[in-house]
């Protein structure tokens, strides 16, 4: 499903070159949940952005469902991101002017689907994460856990084959974090969807099938 070959990412900061990711290679199989672990600045979020097509590698290649993301034109990469990859962020990143249902429907609407169909799918996705009764609430009216579950519903609504989660429990209390991890783990149960999750929390990392430890932009070791 996802193959990373010798990927590197370098950018300039304050006039000097920063190697955020160096020579990383890895594979993610369908139905697998992989956790990227590491301290702040280890390059895990940068790597996640490269996997999700939010950023382009300076070297190497990221193959998703057989296609090299680096070779795709911006619009094609955007469509791929919209239709095949779901994103979950640490700070939820829900749009404040949209209700929960509208937030979830957003990527579907961006794909050109009709309002009616998008809303139906969004409500179904919210139901899947247990938030059917909060569909018409705005983010500011919801708890952190509800917001993150809404974000997960948004990521699921486009029926992606890959879900990328960046510190999904980083802004939640322990109990709510545990709930969200359980929810994510359950999403891979049917074997069609893969998840790559970034965290620095050793406890949260245990939810994955594999743990890849990053240090200074390189893979330090891999654990099962």
């Amino acid at each position: 499903m996802l193959e990373v070959r010798d990927v590197g990412k370098t950018y300039r900061e304050g006039g000097r070159e920063v190697h955020a990711v160096r020579g990383v290679s890895l594979r993610v199989e369908p139905g697998e949940m992989v956790v990227l672990l590491g301290r702040s600045g280890s390059g895990k979020s940068t790597l996640l952005h490269l996997l999700g097509g939010l950023d382009r590698p300076s070297s190497g290649s990221v193959l998703f469902e057989g296609r090299d993301l680096a070779s795709l034109h911006d619009d094609a990469l955007t469509r791929l991101r919209r239709d095949r990859i779901g994103h979950v962020f640490q700070f939820f990143n829900l749009l404040p002017t949209l209700t929960a249902a509208e937030n979830v429907a957003l990527p579907i609407l961006l794909g050109g689907t009709s309002d009616r169909v998008a809303t139906a799918r969004a409500r179904a996705a919210l139901d899947e994460v247990g938030l059917a009764d909060r569909a018409d609430h705005f983010p500011e009216e919801m708890s952190g856990g509800e917001q993150q579950r809404t974000a997960i519903a948004r990521a699921l609504a486009v029926r992606p084959s890959l879900l990328l989660a960046d510190e999904p429990t980083g802004n939640l209390d322990t109990d709510t974090g545990r709930e969200v991890l359980g929810l994510l783990r359950g999403l891979t149960a049917d074997g069609t969807r893969s998840i790559v999750m970034v965290t620095h929390d050793e406890q949260a990392a245990l939810v994955g099938d594999r743990r890849i430890r990053l240090k200074d932009g390189r893979i330090e070791r891999e654990e099962r």
């Binding site: 955007t78 469509r79 700070f91 990143n93 002017t97 961006l110």
Partner: protein, 869 residues
């Protein structure tokens, strides 16, 4: 774009940021209001002018006319004899006094009832043949009847069979009301409501027109080419027609907006363009704030699969929504501004150019639609650059970091330096050279672009110069403000540039208005000589609205005890050199004794230096020479010593230009000549006014009743004292410039909106930094003080820069555009008094504008302000 996305991403966001949206909306509203007001006033003036000069419109395919002295009736038969002419109807029209109602006037239109049956005729855009109820056609045809417009009949309480007493230059006449005609509510009213139709013979007697008519209207056989027919008529009339003959489509002799509005027309056009430019500037700011604040949202959208085009669309739709709301408000505001200022403009037009009832301001559906389109377009243009910046955001950066200063960089980035240089050179190129009118507009545009491009750098340099003073006098807040000014050139420049741009507009408008009003009032005070003025119907300021009197009354007036000198004044507008010039015909020997006119002239050979005024006027008195106004000379390229040929009913009259004089009577130029020549060669023995100089010791209150007794019987004399006359003229001019002051108010509002908007951006951009300052121990007071001081500093620099820019624009507008348009070389006045108040207000407003965003910034929770990383 999906309606759900528009609702969620655009409308709800706009509603959540109402104040900010209101700023953008207000900016567009002001711009569109200025645009609409200028267009609506211009249209209203045109309607007023057209209705006044052409009481009967429509129906005719061609019009045969000449100068204001009219056409011999004998030409009527020749016109009718031209092949292809179906009908030719003579027309005489003038304002007359209604004897039964002192102070009220009617527009008499003399028509030939027989000829009219073959014409399809409209009065002021109204068709009497459809609306008239003529009870007594015989009385009308015989010359004793009148058909009265319904509004006038109602005002006078007249019904069919009633008697209407009218008083014209030919004396008083009574008419029996033979019928009335109605004016539909949707017709352009103009002066149609005051029209009285009488037979042409009766009108000629009433108006002392002798054997002359004002116009012959012609209808052609169907399919006949009007151009060819006009040529045929010209050829047929050639042996007898006056050189001033005009044959052409109806309306050809109507004045243009430029004729009527002159300098104000230039100001209006310039004001509308510049106001819309400022609208672009402010909408740009508003959308920029949105883009800056919504950077994280843009990142989310991009991460979720929104294409760059979709992001671009979100911001463009938002701008268009703001633009449309602003434009809708601007339509109402524009109507209000136009209506308010029209009163002044129209009363001046009515008093100085032609008598008229001002046509009401109409904002037609088309004009309103164009306003909406302009608003939406301006908003779209303004939003495009920041929207593109938003669309260009890399999703990973935006998601992670949130708001960030996007406008950063060097003091003078290369593209901006290049633009400033190119447009500065273009300004210099356009300022000097031929065709100064068009080049004048180009020069102003180039100067504004160069101004915008260089403003940030100049402002930052100015602010840096002030910064040490802030450090010195204001402690920590001053230190913080100075630091910010020194480190963030582009950011600091935004609000100052907005203020500078707005104030430049104020300076330019105020400068032009003051220059013109000062120039015209001074000119009038110096040149309108006389202790007492006599006219009929109403005071004459530059012609029109009154009933001309027989010039021979001057003799009677001279015999009135206490009167020393009397000058009969006749004014005409005649076609010349593709336009219409103003003829000021005077009794020169008497005029010499009372004038203070500044005349520049030389001897007959055009050399030999300056001659005394009396010598030059003696030349004019011979009938072989004339004076031309300075604007005539500038517009038509005529110099002292040249000979001009004026058309008349007696062939062309050659007149050598003996000198020039300053004059603001007419934007197309004035010729001062002997009235004797007009009487003898143009066969016009009328006078619009008599200027009287009193004998030493005589007073106005003594002489005025004697004048009334001597010549007043049946003439409704208006006898005005010199000071009264000049005060009325001053009031008229002040009214005329009211529109200019309305524009100043709009510019000031725009300036303050701009500075408020710009400061908001600056504070939004600094939100995190302000959080850091607070976290590091700065008190709220210190932070607010720093921002307010920074705002005041930028206000001072912006105001100074705006003042300089505005003076430059004013100079180009006065010395290039206005000169080319009207030939008026108005004194270049910089109104330092009002401007210094404006500058101080600018600095204070700027400081005050800093308070609201500053207080909002310090109220932000530290946690929120610092949470972006």
């Amino acid at each position: 774009m999906n309606p759900a996305l528009v609702r969620g991403l655009v409308l709800r966001w706009t509603l959540r940021h109402r104040l900010r949206a209101a700023l953008g909306i207000a900016a567009v509203a002001l711009g569109v209001a200025a645009y609409l007001a200028s267009a609506a006033v211009a249209r209203s003036v045109m309607l007023t002018g057209t209705a006044a000069t052409s009481a009967l419109a429509g129906g005719a395919d061609l019009v045969v006319a000449a100068d204001e002295t009219g056409l011999p009736t004998a030409l009527l038969g020749d016109v009718r004899g031209v092949p292809g002419v179906t009908a030719a109807a003579p027309l005489v029209t003038s304002w007359v006094r209604i004897a039964s109602m002192p102070g009220r006037r009617a527009m008499v239109v003399g028509i030939d009832p027989l000829a009219e049956t073959r014409m399809r005729r409209r009065a002021g855009g109204v068709d009497p043949s459809k609306n008239a109820a003529v009870a007594d056609p015989v009385a009308f045809a015989m010359g004793g009847g009148a058909i009265v417009a319904m509004p006038l009949a109602e005002e006078l309480g007249l019904a069919v069979g009633g008697v209407l007493h009218l008083q014209g230059a030919g004396g008083g006449r009574s008419f029996t009301v033979a019928g009335t005609f109605d004016i539909p509510g949707d017709a352009p009213r103009g002066n149609a409501g005051r029209v009285v139709l009488v037979s042409v013979g009766a009108a000629r007697l009433l108006l002392a027109r002798g054997d002359r008519v004002d116009r012959i209207d012609v209808t052609l056989d169907s399919g006949r080419d009007p151009g060819a027919a006009a040529d045929a008529i010209r050829a047929a009339l050639a042996p007898k027609a006056p050189p001033s003959l005009l044959v052409g489509p109806p309306g050809m002799a109507d004045p243009s907006t430029g004729d009527v509005l002159g300098a104000v027309d230039v100001g209006l056009k310039l004001g509308a363009v510049v106001a819309l430019l400022v609208g672009v500037f402010l909408i740009h700011h508003t959308v920029s704030i949105g883009v800056t604040e919504r950077r994280r949202e843009v990142g989310i959208l991009r991460a979720l699969g929104a294409t760059r085009g979709q992001v671009l669309l979100v911001f463009c739709v938002e701008a268009v929504v703001l633009g449309l709301i602003g434009a809708a408000l601007g339509i109402g505001l524009g109507w209000a501004v136009a209506t308010t200022s029209l009163q002044g403009v129209a009363s001046t037009i009515s008093g100085t150019y032609f008598p008229s009832e001002p046509a009401p301001v109409e904002v037609s559906a088309l004009l309103a639609l164009s306003g909406l389109a302009v608003g939406a377009f301006v908003a779209l243009v303004a939003a495009f650059v920041p929207a593109r910046r938003a669309a260009g955001e890399a999703p990973n950066d935006a998601v992670r970091r949130g708001p960030e200063e996007s406008v950063r960089g060097r003091l003078m980035p290369a593209p901006r330096a290049a633009a400033a240089l190119v447009f500065a050179v273009a300004t210099a190129f356009f300022v000097w050279g031929p065709d100064i009118r068009l080049r004048g507009y180009y020069a102003i545009f180039s100067l504004l672009v160069a101004f915008v491009a260089s403003a940030p750098t100049m402002l930052v340099l100015g602010a840096r110069a002030i910064a040490p003073l802030l450090r010195l006098v204001a402690g920590v807040p001053g230190e913080l403000a100075a630091e910010e000014l020194a480190r963030r050139p582009a950011r600091a420049a935004l609000p100052a540039a907005a203020l500078a741009f707005g104030l430049a507009l104020v300076v330019e408008t105020l400068g032009i208005v003051e220059s013109l009003s000062k120039g015209t009032i001074e000119w009038m005070e110096e040149n309108v000589a006389g202790d007492l003025f006599v006219s009929s119907g109403r005071t004459v300021l530059a012609g029109g609205g009154h009933t001309p009197l027989e010039a021979s009354l001057a003799g009677t007036l001279r015999s009135v005890p206490g009167v020393e000198t009397v000058v009969a004044v006749r004014t005409l507008r005649i076609p010349w050199n593709g336009t219409r010039v103003f003829i000021l015909a005077l009794d020169i020997p008497q005029f010499r004794r009372m004038t203070h006119l500044h005349v520049s002239g030389s001897d007959a050979a055009g050399a030999g230096g300056l001659r005394p005024r009396d010598a030059i006027l003696a030349d004019v008195e011979t009938g072989a020479a004339c004076l031309i106004s300075e604007n005539f000379s500038a517009l038509h390229g005529t110099q002292i010593g040249d000979t001009i040929e004026l058309p008349s009913s007696d062939g062309r009259i050659p007149l050598r230009v003996a000198g020039t004089f300053p004059d603001y009577s007419w934007p197309r130029g004035t010729v001062l000549m002997s009235r004797r020549v007009v009487e003898e060669r143009m066969r016009d023995g009328l006078a619009d006014q008599f200027s009287v100089m009193l004998a030493p010791g005589a007073t106005f209150s003594d002489v005025a009743p004697r004048v009334e007794a001597a010549v007043g019987t049946g003439r409704e004399l208006v006898v005005t004292s010199g000071p009264e006359f000049r005060a009325a003229a001053r009031a008229l001019l002040s009214d005329f410039f009211r529109l200019g002051y309305a524009q100043v108010a709009v510019s000031l509002s725009v300036a303050f909106l701009g500075v408020f908007n710009g400061l908001w951006i600056a504070v939004v951009l600094r939100r995190r930094e302000i959080g850091l300052l607070r976290a590091a121990g700065a008190t709220r007071g210190q932070v607010v003080g720093s921002i307010v001081m920074q705002a005041a500093c930028l206000g001072a620099v912006g105001a100074t820069f705006g003042l300089l820019g505005g003076i430059a624009v004013e100079w180009i507008a006065l010395r290039r555009v206005l000169v080319a348009d009207t030939g008026w070389y108005a004194q270049f006045v910089v109104p330092w008094g009002p401007l210094s108040i404006v500058v101080v207000l600018g600095v204070i407003a700027s400081a005050l504008a800093g308070i609201i965003p500053a207080r909002a910034a310090v109220r932000t929770e530290l946690r929120d302000a610092l949470s972006y990383e």
